[in-house]
């Protein structure tokens, strides 16, 4: 009964703080980066179609959707390969998780972000094409994809991603999430919802153990 159109931009108060502006800049830069990456993929796809099999595979060999259920971690509506995107193609995490450095929320890529590349990239193997088609249909149906959440933190704990990126650098995602770049399907390496996991690290690094830093 409630209306379901996606949110469209509105006028912002003109004197918003600077982080917002810089955020947009960073985003634009990342889009650019993405475009380059897309070109590379496209080129690879066109130039050497035949030796797709022979090419040295970083991470596990091509998998089919059917296997994904055998893999660790929850089965996702689309068999999105972090090992390919982050591993082989070396896409920056922030290309998709675009707000991780500025907000407590890492941000889940909008469908438009996926389509940015997959307008061109149709996938080499049969299996990949199947998955990418799912994406395209979703896009044409204007139907967002409901990913299954892997990492959840209790709602009474506030985890500011940006503070941790600021402190540990943009490559530090693996500290908590494990080597996502090697995962065909994302699974929980560390129980990030386990306070022991947080506090141990905070003690090692001699950073605040004050309860009210996370709990309020």
């Amino acid at each position: 009964m409630l209306s379901l159109p996606s949110f469209r931009p509105r006028e912002i108060v003109h004197m918003l703080d600077l982080t917002r502006r810089s955020a947009d800049m960073r985003k634009r830069f990342l889009y650019g980066l993405g475009a380059v990456a897309t070109a590379v993929v496209a080129f690879a796809a066109v130039s050497r179609p035949s030796d797709a099999q022979q090419q040295p595979t970083v991470g596990p060999s091509p998998l089919t959707t059917s296997d994904s259920s055998k893999l660790q971690g929850p089965k996702q509506p689309i068999f999105f390969r972090h090992d390919i995107h982050a591993g082989q193609l070396k896409l920056q995490c922030q290309y998709c998780h675009y707000t991780v450095a500025e907000s407590s929320e890492p941000g889940i890529p909008a469908l438009s972000t996926c389509m940015g590349c997959h307008n061109l990239v149709a996938g080499k193997t049969k299996e990949n094409q199947v998955e990418i088609t799912k994406l395209k249909t979703a896009w044409s149906k204007k139907q967002p994809i409901e990913w299954v959440r892997v990492h959840t933190i209790a709602k009474h704990a506030h985890f500011p991603h940006m503070r941790h990126i600021k402190a540990l650098g943009t490559q530090a995602c693996a500290t908590c999430h494990g080597e996502i770049a090697q995962m065909p399907q994302v699974y929980k390496v560390n129980n990030v919802n386990n306070m022991g996991f947080c506090i141990t690290c905070h003690i090692e690094r001699k950073v605040s153990r004050d309860c009210s830093v996370c709990h309020y």
Binding site: R10, E102, S104, P160, R209, C211, Y216
Partner: protein, 1005 residues
């Protein structure tokens, strides 16, 4: 909503969609399992200005009353979570009253209509399709010929203009409707100066204010602006402050903030005004003095129950220094002599030379058509002259007295249409309801007064698929064609832009886009009002004809209905925030009542809560008694705003409507609210009042301390002033204050080796200036909104289980054995004591001290022993006795929840945290920018909303911080000093024009 995957709900996907991927945390229950399967729903297209986890502010305009304050709508993941004042708006300059903030609950109101409704044969309503609805309206309106009228409650705006033109094109009548329209004042201005408009009053410039029953701090005029002005002049500053005298039968919140209250019988205010005017005129040698001979203090004194000396003194004080100001005309003085009263007050201002100084014409509030035209309109309805009536943003069948037979007339109309978004009293009588978008969902603008044009923009996707009435008009026009074929804009948005383009063109404002975007960004266009020449008295003005106003009925008591601070004209009655924000004076929640003077109560032998039956020639109602020494023995006062017959679950059948007792027949220009005498009959029934105050007197505990102006000006501390007044000395707080500022971290570090107390940290502190606080309670609603505080409902308030983290304590002084009644207010929140008694007694460290000086409360660690509350001398800790978090936010009210704050579960203790989420947020931002948090960067919700600017917050270790300057003020004191709990909140004593009534702590009575 944390378990949104386990509670199946139609709205869930939408909820997540609106939220994007985050913010589900908003509705999380503490300690709940998080191992359920939850989904991440990404945006299709990421909006540029929405960053998940970061709030975005949109400028808009408040439509909760006609003042049209500017809004900043704080949105998270595309949904508004809080309404705050727009700092750039000249009216409210960043602050906002309780009613304005509660506007959020009309956006998310669970009783909003989800589709157009049409009356069916059975007399009920059916949901219908929009096309169908528009077709039906078009058919009726098209065939109505001229027999068509519009009753429009929305202020001057592009929309209203459109509606007017459209109605005119169809040959119909358009009537602007405003329940508390200031008709009497307009009539008086006509009489005095020949002006048909209203002035603005400069309270900030006035050194002496006399209010004749005008509640300028509550419901009369642009209250936020007036409160800002009043606080500026009446708040103690540079050794001085203005003087405020309140003349009237009932001590309202405005009266409670006066330095002196002159209790006069209802209807005799004008005589007082004229008497003062007479003396002033004589002193100033003003020609009018002669005309006023009939009103020498000596002659009127007895009539008004004052001594002539009092009147002389008042007059002298009035012209003693600087510009003064006299105001009148609010609902509690709208008796049949109201025009005379306002005229008299005008003359008083005239002779005192205030016109042009504090009484400024030119930029007055926009005027409406007034009661006269509304009544005529209904009359023609009654004569069956109308086929179609459209009611827009108005609820006349509630706001007009029953005795006027308005309902009967309304029923005579063939086809009645309403655009109400909730099924209110009027809509319930209509044949077709076309729910309008909420003001936060639609394109619009508003011109509350010359020079100010506020803009409204959709800041959220419509919560329900309803339609902008502007679009409805355009669609209907398309369907009808003919006379209205001209109204052919593609959408109202286009029409609005077109209108603004014209405006931009006329105003030689560069390219339209930047002009438009600029306006939206600032929330409107603010220009200096066209200056008006100082008006001159018209010839007839000096013919003063004062006759005592007549009252209908033969009862012993004059009935005085007054607009409730929270419910206003009734539109607040469907908002739980306003129900649970107690009335500032009586501290009653969720109910209406009738106020009796103790003598009256004794005479009738009734006690608080007993139900009495009030009968007037126009009707009879039963209401519960509240005994109040602040009301004239000859008067019964009743708040307006409750007693709805519809209007949703929170309003329907709650309380009574005092308007049922008053007549509406005779007066021409305005509705005479105070025009009936009622007789009282006891019924023997009883209904407990859900009051939130326990003992209403301070018992000499120095909770709200005050000192005479003379001493304050000398820079004395409350203790010194108290001593100077010849009392035993109380305790000094200075060295404790110092310890709180300097020695704090060390103390904590000594106290425990754990935590990094020894490291350098800020220490957060607050100061409250009681000479500025008016007790308006805007901060209370702000706190509810910011901190996801659940409203618990009347049944729970009976047990005093309200969760109000911040409460305004109201204490009576005097009022017994003939001594004058004085009222004092103090906002009391968690004092964040350095030496907090709640901390050591918690067995699980849920209550503990943070390194930055906060008194932390870890909800998810709390097991609920409640020892902390027992041991808290201020009793500012609140316990979740039942699953409030599950009942308080029926969908879609849950969308209002602030994602930054955990929603507390049953069995957990909660309390004020100094808005720690805002502190942490600012610290995160500062850290990302490699800097320290700036002073003033963190504003707590209460401080942010306060129209009086009575609160200050900051790092007390920063010698430059504003809060330190406040804390060093000699007026500073701590509540309950002798408990040595070392609060982080410093109160600055009230300053009075008379010797203090409250005695400092440490003094037994």
């Amino acid at each position: 909503m944390a378990d949104e995957s386990t509670t199946p709900s139609v709205d869930r996907r939408h909820f997540l969609k609106v939220l994007g991927v985050s913010g589900v945390g908003a509705a999380a229950l503490t300690g709940c399992s998080t191992d359920r399967v939850t989904k991440l729903v990404p945006y299709l297209v990421q909006s540029e200005d929405q960053v998940p986890g970061i709030a975005t502010n949109y400028a808009s305009t408040c439509t909760e009353c006609s003042a049209g304050c500017g809004l900043h709508v704080r949105t998270r993941e595309g949904r508004p979570v809080k309404l705050e004042g727009n700092p750039e708006h000249p009216t409210n300059a960043g602050t906002l009253c309780a009613r304005g903030q509660a506007g959020l609950q009309s956006l998310y109101n669970p009783d909003r209509l989800k589709a157009p409704m049409a009356r069916n044969a059975a007399g009920g309503f059916d949901e219908i399709k929009w096309d169908d609805a528009i077709a039906r309206l078009a058919a009726k309106v098209g065939s109505a010929g001229g027999k068509f009228a519009v009753l429009n409650g929305y202020g001057p705006s592009t929309f209203t203009t459109l509606l007017q033109d459209w109605t005119k094109a169809l040959g119909g009548t358009h009537v602007a409707f405003e329940p508390f329209a200031r008709e009497a004042e307009r009539a008086a201005n006509q009489k005095t100066w020949g002006r048909d408009d209203l002035p603005t009053y400069d309270f900030a410039a006035a050194t002496h204010i006399i209010s004749f029953g005008a509640d300028f701090l509550e419901t009369w005029g642009p209250v936020v602006e007036q409160q800002r002005g009043f606080a500026a002049s009446h708040g103690f500053h540079d050794g001085t402050m203005s003087r405020h005298v309140f003349v009237g039968p009932r001590l309202s919140l405005t009266g409670a903030n006066a330095d002196e209250w002159l209790m006069v019988p209802a209807g005799s205010e004008a005589q007082v005004a004229l008497a003062i005017a007479h003396v002033v005129a004589e002193r100033k040698g003003h020609p009018l003095a002669g005309m006023l001979m009939a009103y020498m203090p000596e002659t009127v004194a007895k009539d008004v129950g004052l001594t002539s000396q009092q009147l002389h003194d008042l007059a002298d004080a009035f012209i003693a220094s600087g510009p003064s100001l006299a105001v009148a005309g609010a609902v509690p003085t709208q008796h049949r002599g109201a025009v005379d009263l306002c005229h008299a007050v005008n003359l008083l201002n005239e002779v005192a030379g205030n016109v042009g100084k504090t009484v400024l014409f030119g930029a007055g509030p926009a005027v409406t058509d007034g009661f006269g035209r509304t009544r005529d309109l209904f009359a023609s309805m009654g004569r069956g002259e109308l086929q179609v009536v459209l009611v827009h943003e108005a609820n006349p069948l509630y706001a007009l007295p029953k005795s006027g037979k308005f309902l009967e007339s309304f029923k005579k109309v063939g086809f009645k249409v309403s655009t109400a978004s909730v099924l209110d009293d009027t809509a319930a009588q209509c044949d077709l309801i076309l729910p309008n978008l909420h003001s936060l969902e639609r394109w619009d603008d508003l011109r509350p007064r010359p020079g100010i044009t506020g803009t409204l923009q959709p800041v959220v996707e419509p919560i329900f698929p309803v339609m902008h009435t502007g679009d409805v008009l355009l669609k209907v026009s398309k369907a009808i064609g003919g006379a209205v074929a001209g109204f052919n804009a593609a959408s109202f948005e286009e029409h609005l832009k077109a209108e603004w383009q014209k405006r931009a063109a006329s105003g030689k404002a560069g390219d339209f886009d930047s002009y438009w975007r600029g306006a939206l960004g600032r929330g409107g266009i603010y220009e200096a009002a066209p200056a008006a020449a100082k008006p001159a008295l018209v010839s007839g003005a000096t013919q003063i004809t004062f006759t005592k106003p007549a009252f209908d009925g033969t009862g012993d008591y004059v009935l005085m209905p007054y607009p409730s601070s929270m419910y206003y004209d009734g539109r607040g009655a469907n908002k739980p925030w306003l129900h649970e924000n107690p009335d500032p004076i009586t501290k009653i929640t969720w109910q209406s009542w009738v106020e009796l003077h103790p003598d009256t109560a004794a005479k009738l032998d009734v006690r608080e809560g007993e139900i009495v039956e009030l009968t007037s020639p126009h009707g009879s109602i039963r209401s519960q008694v509240y005994v109040y020494a602040g009301v004239h023995p000859g008067v019964l006062a009743m708040p307006l705003g409750l007693g709805h017959t519809a209007y949703g679950r929170y309003a329907k059948d709650r309380g009574v409507n005092a308007l049922d007792l008053i007549g509406a027949a005779d007066s021409d220009t305005f509705l005479p609210y105070v025009s009936t005498k009622v007789s009282v009959k006891t019924t023997g029934d009883y209904r407990k009042a859900a009051r939130v105050d326990g003992e209403a007197r301070q018992l000499g505990r120095g909770i709200v301390q005050s000192m005479p102006l003379a001493y304050a000006a000398k820079g004395m501390t409350p203790e010194e002033s108290y001593k100077a007044a010849g009392h035993v000395e109380g305790e000094k707080n200075t060295e404790r204050e110092l310890a709180a500022i300097e020695g704090f971290a060390e103390d904590q570090a000594k106290a425990t080796q754990y935590g990094d107390y020894a490291n350098p940290h800020p220490k957060w502190g607050m100061a409250v200036d009681l000479s500025r606080c008016t007790g308006c309670s805007a901060c209370v609603t702000a706190c509810y909104a910011e901190n996801n505080i659940p409203t618990v409902g009347e049944e729970q308030v009976f047990r005093r289980r309200e969760m109000s983290w911040l409460r305004i304590e109201r204490y009576w002084e005097g009022g017994e054995a003939g001594e004058p009644l004085a009222v004092s207010f103090a906002p009391v929140m968690c004092q964040h004591c350095d030496n907090a008694p709640c901390e050591p007694v918690c067995p699980v460290y849920a209550a503990y001290h943070t390194p930055d000086g906060l008194n932390g409360q870890v909800y998810n660690r709390c097991v609920g022993t409640r020892y902390c509350s027992n041991n808290c001398p201020f009793k500012v800790r609140y316990f979740n006795w039942l699953k409030y978090n599950e009942v308080a936010f029926p969908e879609p009210l849950n969308l209002q929840l602030n994602p930054d704050v955990t929603v507390r579960a049953r069995g957990v203790m909660e309390k004020c945290t100094f808005c720690i989420q805002r502190i942490r947020g600012a610290q995160n931002t500062a850290r990302l920018e490699d800097r320290e948090v700036r002073d003033g960067e963190i504003k707590t919700a209460c401080m942010q909303s306060c129209p009086s600017g009575a609160l200050s917050f900051g790092n007390v270790k920063d010698p430059e911080a504003a809060v330190i300057k406040w804390k060093r003020d000699p007026r500073g004191y701590h509540m309950l000093e002798e408990t040595n709990v070392r609060p982080s909140v410093t109160y600055l004593a009230r300053v009075l024009h008379q010797p203090p009534v409250a005695t400092p702590a440490g003094e037994a009575h």
